[in-house]
Symmetry: none
Subunit: 205 residues, 4 copies
DNA sequence: CATGAATGAGATTTCATTCAT
DNA sequence: GATGAATGAAATCTCATTCAT
């Protein structure tokens, strides 16, 4: 009997498509609620094809965690060399100019909780976070945020936690939250602060 | 032959036990990963008994959302009458003195995502958030944070998003994050700010 | 919506039923070709019920291996105290008087191959076989089969291998093989043998 | 871009390679547990190539059954003209000198059960077995094993069942079983037997 | 001849829910 | 009120087979 097949693409292309599909779905519905069938169908394939490209559902998840964290680290690294303010980190993580694409970083707690339940990936994540914090410290100390009263590590945790919280609210209640305004607010709070004022001189970004 | 039965408690007691059990589990593992069996076993009952007290899994979830949001609203309402600073909201939500009990507020995105997927509860949540924001605005404006340059609604969103982010990181990576230090940092950032300084005079809480 | 349920039996009864059902099917079709659905349906249950009684398909298999080998050992132990001839072992293993019930011992190689692929069960099986061989040696040496020219351990292996071979042929081609005649033949070969003749005196069984 | 391909061999060569590969795998793991992918990979090909050479998995199985049984028949035919004792049949089936190559006869019950479930092959097998039995009878009666008390057909079944049983134990628990010793034992049992003694005179092989 | 991406049927397993006792 | 055996829908995963290149 004959079988209708989707056009064949290279494994590389398909892997990318499937990763992107999975990322969107995991973000929107969480790891558990997302089925392999959905991931595959979103790119016009069947379950079977999914298993040709990935060993199992957990594997695509691992790959995604690595991708996301790698991206995250790369971005923060990149910013750190440009004399950034803490708010600049938010700006870039939210993809320039507040245009937040919900398929871009899947900073979603379900994703995290799932990830943290697997020792291998948990270690990877803790290491990643340390690197991101280091990048942040490098970046902001070079741009005048070094201050005896503020522990820069705490400021990093503060910034990234704020990012997570904004991100989540953005995902869950997009109508309520205005990301660019929030970033501006963060920037304003820091710029008009005694703690940094004298250190940084004029605050043009 | 006789069957071992748990001592029969009043329906009211059992409901409370089950709600508490479900809350802890939903927080720790997410709605989907938590089974009815686990919820029941945690209080020494069987699945069957669960269905005597709740119509189904979604119902206990609804009840929990209402409970949690009610609590959240009550707390913020209470603080708002005590001339709070924004950081005070964090302080109280994190249960005073930085001692965070992980079973207290289940502000976990999986919980949210699940909740937002049900229209009835989505409306409820949006309304709750609006009330919480109003409580915040009431509170901080009475304590001198009214400032033409800062939109207080934005400051509320900022504060609650920060709370969410800190909370999540606390749940996922407890070893990395020092909640009291973060609250202090938030407080410091606001207190030493030009924007509020002249308006508020002395900042002792 | 309402559900039609099979009459409820005690877990103990159901386990026995399911074990028996699985034994017959594994014997007839092999482990792999037998589905959990079939095992359950054969006793009027659904897949779901199967998983209430057994953790998974491998577990029922383990239990069965233990049951079968335990039975095998017990039988050979029992015979060994009754001055048996080697053929008596076959007789009893084939359940008295050649009436072979195909659901009795599942001495089937698929069963074995599957079992041997799991280290835990492999050790168990090797130990069992050693015990069975010991029982055989005990039994036949007490009834005059001790003979310097014949290694009794070899005779044991010979007897049990013959049993396996007959059993398999009986399962696969029942029309071709006459078990009682084969047992008689084995007995005759031994009884009319110089090696044992002088040792055993008259050979009445 | 170019694709790595195995060197193209004649269809005949490939068929033989695939048959040999399949035989080894079916013996080791059973028909069901063996995948087409494994069969192909073992000779450096892909699934697709397999389907160029064989219509489907069942076909290669049929071909194998015929090959194996043909071999079996040919061997027994050959021996039967050499005045064999029953033990000689074992000897030859086990490939002279006790050096058992596990890839030679796949006399494995999974193989049989699978085969017997297909009527065409079942008839073929029953006929084969009859011929093998006839070869045996021809052989041993010419060498003095004709005896009124022993039905030679039973002796044939006995011998081949013993072979099966030894073979299986050899495959499953190679460390426990000493094939040459078993063959010797069989020979000894027959040689020192009243039933044949007077008929056969001296028994040197 | 051979590749390798894709299919689809079917197997194992999970779990919310039902219900007789 | 509570038990625990049973259901059934849905999810994950496997693998024989197809087919464009």
């Amino acid at each position: 009997m004959s079988i209708k097949q989707s056009p064949k693409l290279s494994a590389e292309k398909r892997r990318e498509q499937l990763l992107s599909s999975a990322q969107k779905l995991f973000l929107k519905k969480g790891y558990r609620r997302t089925t392999v069938d959905e991931i595959a169908k979103k790119v016009g394939l069947t379950k079977g094809a999914f298993y040709f490209h990935f060993d199992n559902k957990e594997h695509i998840f691992f790959d995604l965690v690595k991708l996301v964290l790698g991206n995250y680290m790369a971005k923060t690294k990149e910013i750190s060399s440009q004399n950034p303010s803490p708010a600049d980190f938010l700006r870039v993580l939210f993809e320039e100019k507040g245009e937040c694409r919900s398929d871009n970083f899947c900073y979603n707690i379900d994703f995290w909780v799932q990830a943290m339940s697997i020792p291998k990936i948990k270690r990877y994540m803790n290491n990643s976070f340390k690197k991101v914090v280091d990048n942040f410290i490098d970046g902001v100390s070079s741009s005048g945020y070094k201050n005896s009263k503020i522990n820069l590590k705490d400021l990093a945790v503060f910034t990234f936690s704020l990012f997570d919280g904004l991100w989540i609210r953005h995902v869950v209640q997009p109508s309520i939250i205005d990301i660019p305004a929030q970033i501006e607010l963060f920037d304003t709070l820091l710029k008009n602060n005694y703690l940094f004022k004298n250190k940084r001189g004029n605050n043009e970004k």
